[in-house]
Every structure is written in structure tokens, then in C-alpha cells.
């Protein structure tokens, strides 16, 4: 009955500014048999989470570790026995489990990805990976040719995976959509790809030809890449969030470059301060340990541990702050006079770090068996931190319509290859 407590807590979270209940349940007009229905509903899941109580809609996650464990084990077994072929079906089952257990304002999401498409996508990805890992064993030129081909394909893969993911997700019987063009994908992906390819190319040339130009490229290109990183990252988020749609409602993503730069700079400053601290502590420890003739491996482990600690403190800060920024800048556009829908997340660095730490430790101690429990705990935290708000209340969602000229079941022809690459 943990679900109920959680529902109440989630309900308490939502601030009731304007009380806009869902369109009339009109229970009394229902024919004889189902009259008792609302009570039955209420005992299973309390009423408040069933509507967008005024201003803010809670996200709720109802999955449990024990239930997911059984799904995970059975699907893992089938994947192993079929030499990985079943993994595409397993992927669909697992994704459905997470989506169907995610509720927004009382209604669940659904996933429609077809296993055959995912299998085709995986085979293609495997072929690309094999080409990548074997080409260098043949010759340097074959290796570079493969890298260039992969770079040319990368924006297409990016587009296809976002399309597959969104078009196969639905809520309240309406599909999400993704309408970026291939040109958009190339515009977003080309700057980092060109800079990265240039760096790799210069790095490879330096072994044969040590000219000033190559040296300059080897310094300028990575520098440019790191200076542009926040901009590149913000553009990638823009690409995914600005081209999404829900039915006929378009998502919008406000330019977030500035906020990304601020966060990256703060994270860098934090890393430097922590790094100096870790270095000072490390130097003292090293000299003490060297005097005490401690085994070299242990000294190395301590150094790696200190570095990892710095990383472990900076990374959650950055990831959390960027998630907040991304959702603060995401909106659903106003159509037919409807106000805008806003998003947010209450995710915090410290709880996230604690959760990830516990998850990793328990997964390692149980040689992987804790993994499904960890996945569920992580999903619950992430999902239940999400907020959606609109001054129109639930109307902001329920007024969405199917885009004229499209089908309610999505376009099956479009997804020959299902790519499930996370972004």
C-alpha cells in the first residue's frame, strides 16, 4: 500500500490555486452496475491525484522493485538463451513497465515501440560498432574512413532515435511527436563533430608530420570545443525539446545558452576549488605513505579515490542544475487561446548523490542483483521530482487534439529502424 501514501504525499505537493476538476465524472448518470465505481476508485487511488488540482500536476511512479525484479530476471534469461535476439522484446517490456507506472494527473503513459524495429535498429548499430572496432585493425585509412562515415550518420541517428522514442510514447490516447528535419539535426550535430574530427585528425597527423599548423590545430580545436561545450549542450537540448509535440500541441524551448554557460562555469570553479583541496590533502597523504613505505598500488588507489570524490561532488551538482534549467525553459505552446504549460523539477544534488551512491554500492555488493531495485528507486526519484503547471488546470492537457491528417496509431512505416539511444 505504499502507492497510496505516495499518492497522498504527491497530492499534498500540488498547490491548489484554482480548483479545476476533470470534466464531469457524471457518476449518477452511469447505468446501474457501475454506480459504485467512484468509491472503488477512491479506495485504490485517492481522488486528489486524479485531477490536476488547480495549478500544479504531480507525476507519480507506481512501480516496485520486487515486481520489476521478476520482469528483469525473466527477460534477462530469455535474452541470454536467445543470444540477445530477445533483448529487443525485453526492451519493449521494460520500457512499458516504466511508462505505464508513470502517472501525470492520474493517468498513465504508454509505450508502443515495436520489438522488430528495435531489433533491426540494434543489428544496424552492432554492424556500425563492428565496423568501427575492426576497421583500425586493418589499416589506419580504413579506420578514418569508418569514423567519417559514422560522423555523417550520427545526426541521422540522433534524429531517428528522438523520433522513435517520442512517437512511440503516448498519454491519454494521444501520441507525442517529434518533427525536426534532417537539416536541423545536422545543424546541431555538425559543430561538435567537426571540432572533434579535426582534433582526432590532428592528433593522428602529429605522428607523421610535426608542423606548426598541426600543433596549433591540436591546441586550438580542443580549446574551442571546451569553450563551446555549454553552447553545444544547450543546442542539443533545444533540438530534442523544441521539436517535440503532444497531439497538436507544440513544445517550445527558450534559449538556455546563458544559463548553461553559468552552470558550466560554476561547476568548473567548484571543480578547481575541490581539486586544489584534494591535491593538498593528497600530497600530504602521499608523502606520509611513501615515508611509511606503503604498497604503491594503495597509494595509487588513494589518488584515484580523491579524484573520483571531486568528480562525484561536481557531477551531481551540474547534472541537477542542468535538468532544472532544461525543464524551466521547456513549455508547451499556446494554441487556440490556451495558456502555456510550464515544467519544472525539484531534483536536488545531495539526495541524487546519496541515491546513486547507495544504488551503486548495493549493486556491486550483490553482484548486480540489486540492479532492478536500483533502477526503480532511481526512476521514482526522478519522475516524482517532475512538475507540470498551467493556470488553465487540466484543460491545458485535455484540450489537446490529434493533429489533423495523422493517425492515432502513429506511422508504422516511419520506424523501420528503432534506435533506443539515450540522450
Amino acid at each position: 500500500m505504499r502507492g497510496i501514501g505516495r499518492a497522498w504525499r504527491a497530492a499534498a505537493w500540488s498547490r491548489a490555486i484554482i480548483d479545476t476538476p476533470e470534466p464531469p465524472p457524471a457518476v449518477s448518470t452511469l447505468p446501474a452496475a457501475p454506480v459504485a465505481a467512484p468509491e472503488a476508485t477512491a479506495t485504490a487511488h485517492p481522488a486528489p491525484e486524479d485531477r490536476l488540482a488547480g495549478y500544479e500536476a504531480p507525476f507519480l511512479f507506481t512501480g516496485t522493485g520486487a515486481e520489476y525484479f521478476r520482469i528483469w530476471v525473466v527477460n534477462l534469461l530469455l535474452s541470454l538463451v536467445t543470444l540477445g535476439v530477445y533483448s529487443a522484446w525485453a526492451k519493449v517490456r521494460k520500457t512499458r513497465y516504466f511508462w505505464q507506472n508513470t502517472r501525470l494527473a492520474g493517468h498513465a503513459f504508454d509505450y508502443h515501440g515495436r520489438p522488430a524495429a528495435i531489433l533491426r535498429g540494434r543489428i544496424l548499430a552492432l554492424l556500425l560498432f563492428l565496423a568501427y572496432s575492426w576497421s583500425f585493425e586493418f589499416s589506419l585509412n580504413a579506420g578514418f574512413a569508418t569514423i567519417v562515415v559514422l560522423c555523417v550518420l550520427a545526426p541521422w541517428l540522433l534524429l531517428k532515435s528522438a523520433q522513435f522514442r517520442l512517437r512511440n510514447t503516448s498519454h491519454r490516447g494521444l501520441r507525442f511527436g517529434f518533427d525536426a528535419t534532417l537539416a536541423d539535426a545536422y545543424r546541431v550535430a555538425l559543430p561538435p563533430l567537426v571540432l572533434w574530427l579535426g582534433t582526432v585528425g590532428a592528433g593522428a597527423t602529429i605522428a607523421y608530420r610535426q608542423s606548426a599548423g598541426v600543433f596549433a590545430a591540436l591546441i586550438i580545436l580542443p580549446l574551442l570545443l571546451s569553450v563551446l561545450m555549454p553552447w553545444i549542450h544547450a543546442r542539443l537540448k533545444w533540438f530534442v525539446h523544441a521539436h517535440a509535440s503532444y497531439g497538436d500541441r507544440m513544445f517550445r524551448f527558450e534559449p538556455a545558452g546563458k544559463a548553461f554557460y553559468k552552470t558550466y562555469l560554476k561547476a568548473a570553479a567548484l571543480a578547481i576549488v575541490l581539486g586544489i583541496g584534494a591535491f593538498a590533502i593528497g600530497t600530504v597523504f602521499m608523502s606520509l605513505m611513501t615515508i611509511a613505505r606503503v604498497h604503491e598500488t594503495i597509494i595509487q588507489l588513494v589518488a584515484v579515490g580523491l579524484a573520483a570524490l571531486t568528480y562525484a561532488l561536481v557531477l551531481p551538482y551540474m547534472s541537477v542544475r542542468l535538468q532544472q534549467i532544461v525543464w524551466e525553459h521547456t513549455q508547451v505552446d499556446a494554441t487556440d487561446g490556451q495558456p502555456v504549460v510550464h515544467f519544472g523539477t525539484t531534483i536536488r544534488a545531495w539526495p541524487l548523490l546519496r541515491l546513486v551512491f547507495v544504488n551503486v554500492c548495493l549493486t556491486l555488493v550483490t553482484i548486480g542483483l540489486y540492479w532492478p531495485f536500483a533502477a526503480v528507486r532511481f526512476a521514482r526519484y526522478r519522475i516524482e521530482c517532475m512538475r507540470m503547471s498551467s493556470i488553465a488546470g487540466i484543460d491545458a492537457v485535455t484540450r489537446a487534439r490529434l493533429t489533423p491528417g495523422t493517425s492515432a496509431v502513429g506511422d508504422a512505416v516511419g520506424d523501420t529502424f528503432g534506435f533506443d539511444i539515450g540522450l
Partner: protein
């Protein structure tokens, strides 16, 4: 009907506004009664019943006509569906079975152990046998060029020294592995005293100058015999396939987890394979040495020296990074030396 009513929300696929419905399954049709009393019916065979989860609403997908989201915890849809002859799929039944978790886990572990112990090594062996020699040569040459560019330097040993050693190697190879293509190349590293030997695909055996500082000539022939064992068993190629296989299998288990977890697990698992290969190469070396009438003990002694260096200085000699030496390995070599050619008595370690 005596059971509690089944209620849900019908989303027609055209609008996100939901219609509360009361549901009943009657014979082969699904009947929904809307709030305004309107009744809708669908043939059950046109309804895709999604897998049910403990706390999630169940989805009855109606294709073009949207979906009915059955409110979790109302009525007993599962009973009604079963009564109407709609069965859960075999996988769903497995997932829900009381002992599914335990049985699945035991089977997973069994399959995993079998695949790790026998399946993958056998598959890698077959795959390695099917790689044409030219391809293997090519891969080896590529790796050798790369190593020469990055960290290897030409040997500084006198030519007559390497030539005389190469002659001894050739005698042993002709005796123990006739017809096997191999070539020995002498190199040194930036760190002059690096002690190591390794094998590349296609039969290239790289010996480092540093070896001659520590190992006697008999021990050097022993090291060569060990590397020749790697060549004969095509270990480098097999290891490439095994690493790829382990990567894929680990990806299946933790695929939706983190990349770090996947990499660490794959690394730990491949260590086991290199240990097996070292043992196999040692066994080959012992047999080859004995067949040529060369004592095995110098090789065992050399390995013991390498191991002792690690213990004393707390610094891992490079040799050990590619050849994990264990007391067990040294003992095995000494046992092999003792049993057949009783040239010298087995010295207790």
C-alpha cells in the same frame, strides 16, 4: 454479475479529454457504457490487451479508436478476461509465476556460467579458426606498426646475440610446432629495463631487450616457448572474440544501466580468460621444452623472480601486466618439469 464493476477512462485517440466508462466483458465483446448512457462495443479479438502490472492501470488498445485505461484496483479485469478466453502470453505468465524470480535467477546463473566456461570460449575458437590467415596477418601487422610508432624502439642487443637466440628458438619450434608460422622481433622500450614478451595476431612474437638482463638462455627459450604456445593456440585472436562476446553479454545484463558498470564487469570477466590462456601456454611450453631436452626449471625460476619483484618493491613489473603470474602457475610448471624429464629434482618452492 457478482464481481466489483470494472471502470476506466476511454480516450478516443482524437482528443486527450477522457470519457469515464464502465466496462463489462460479455462473451466475445468488450462493452463500455459512457457517462451519458451511450454504449460502445468492440469485438475482443480487435482489442490488444496490454500486459498487466500490479499498480499500473491496464491498457486496452483499440487501434484507431484510442485506448481504454482501466483504473487500477477496480473490479477484476483479469478474471473477466480469463473467463472470456483471453490468455496472458507465456512470458507474462512466467513473470508472474510465484517462483519465477528464483527459477529465473538460478537459470540465468547456470546459463551465464555455462556460456562463460564453455560456450563463449568454444565459439571464439570456432570463430578464430574461420578467420583467414591473411586477415590475421594483416591485423597483426597493423598492431605491430602501431606499437612500433607508439612505444617500441629497435633492439640494442648485438646482432649475433639475437641471432644465436633466434637459432635456439627455431630448433625448439621445429621440434614442438612444425609448420606453424611465427616470427620473433627484438625491441626495447623507452624504459630500457622493461622486461616483457608478447604475441600479436599472425604469429609475431615481440621480445624486449630487458629480458636478457634477468633471464638465462634456457629461461629465454622457455619464455619463447610460452609465447609460441599463444601462437599455436591462436590466443590473441580468440581473446579478441571473447572480449567482444563478454562485452555483448554484459551489455544485455546492465545495458540499461551505466556504461561504467558495463565496462568494469567486462574487464573483470576477461581477466579469467587471460588466466586460462596463460595456463594453456605454460602447458605447451613445458611439453615443448621437454621434447627438446631443455630444462623447465629456469622458466619457473624466472617467473618466480618476476613475482618476487612485485612483492618486494610494491611495484608491478610490466611482465606481470600481460602475464599474471601466480604461485599456482609456477607450481604447475615445476610439477610438469618433475613428472616427465627427471633431469633435476623438484625444488620445494
Amino acid at each position: 454479475m457478482t464481481t466489483a464493476p470494472i471502470t476506466g477512462t476511454w480516450f478516443d485517440g482524437r482528443s486527450a479529454a477522457g470519457n469515464p466508462v464502465a466496462l463489462a466483458i460479455d462473451g466475445t465483446t468488450l462493452a463500455a457504457t459512457l457517462a451519458d448512457g451511450e454504449a460502445r462495443r468492440w469485438a475482443l479479438r480487435d482489442v490488444t490487451v496490454a500486459e498487466g502490472f500490479e499498480h499500473a492501470p491496464r491498457m486496452l488498445r483499440l487501434d484507431d479508436e484510442g485506448v481504454i485505461e482501466v483504473t487500477a484496483g477496480t473490479g477484476d479485469l483479469a478474471v473477466a478476461l480469463r473467463a472470456a478466453g483471453v490468455q496472458d502470453g507465456p512470458v507474462v505468465r512466467m513473470q508472474r509465476h510465484r517462483y519465477a524470480a528464483v527459477l529465473g535467477l538460478v537459470l540465468c546463473i547456470a546459463v551465464g556460467i555455462f556460456a562463460y566456461d564453455a560456450g563463449l570460449p568454444a565459439a571464439a575458437r570456432v570463430a578464430a579458426e574461420h578467420v583467414p590467415p591473411e586477415v590475421e596477418q594483416r591485423i597483426g601487422a597493423q598492431l605491430r606498426d602501431h606499437a612500433d610508432d607508439m612505444f617500441l624502439k629497435p633492439s640494442r642487443l648485438p646482432a649475433e646475440r639475437t641471432a644465436s637466440l633466434d637459432r635456439r628458438f627455431a630448433q625448439l619450434a621445429a621440434q614442438a610446432a612444425p609448420g606453424v608460422t611465427y616470427q620473433v622481433v627484438w625491441r626495447r622500450m623507452y624504459d630500457l629495463h622493461a622486461i616483457n614478451a608478447f604475441t600479436l595476431p599472425g604469429g609475431t612474437i615481440v621480445m624486449l631487450d630487458g629480458l636478457t638482463d634477468v633471464a638465462s638462455d634456457d629461461a629465454l627459450v622457455g619464455v619463447f616457448a610460452h609465447e609460441l604456445g599463444h601462437v599455436v593456440h591462436r590466443h590473441t585472436l580468440r581473446q579478441m572474440f571473447q572480449v567482444a562476446g563478454i562485452g555483448g553479454a554484459v551489455g544485455l545484463v546492465f545495458g540499461d544501466a551505466s556504461a561504467t558498470l558495463t565496462t568494469v564487469a567486462a574487464m573483470v570477466l576477461t581477466v579469467g580468460y587471460s588466466r586460462d590462456m596463460e595456463r594453456e601456454a605454460d602447458a605447451f611450453a613445458a611439453t615443448a621444452l621437454k621434447a627438446s631436452g631443455i630444462p623447465v626449471e629456469p622458466l619457473a625460476e624466472f617467473l618466480a623472480t618476476m613475482q618476487a619483484r612485485e612483492d618486494e618493491r610494491g611495484q608491478v613489473p610490466q611482465f606481470l601486466s600481460t602475464h599474471p603470474v601466480s604461485s599456482e602457475r609456477i607450481d604447475a610448471l615445476r610439477r610438469a618439469a618433475g613428472t616427465a624429464a627427471s633431469v633435476r629434482p623438484v625444488a620445494p618452492p
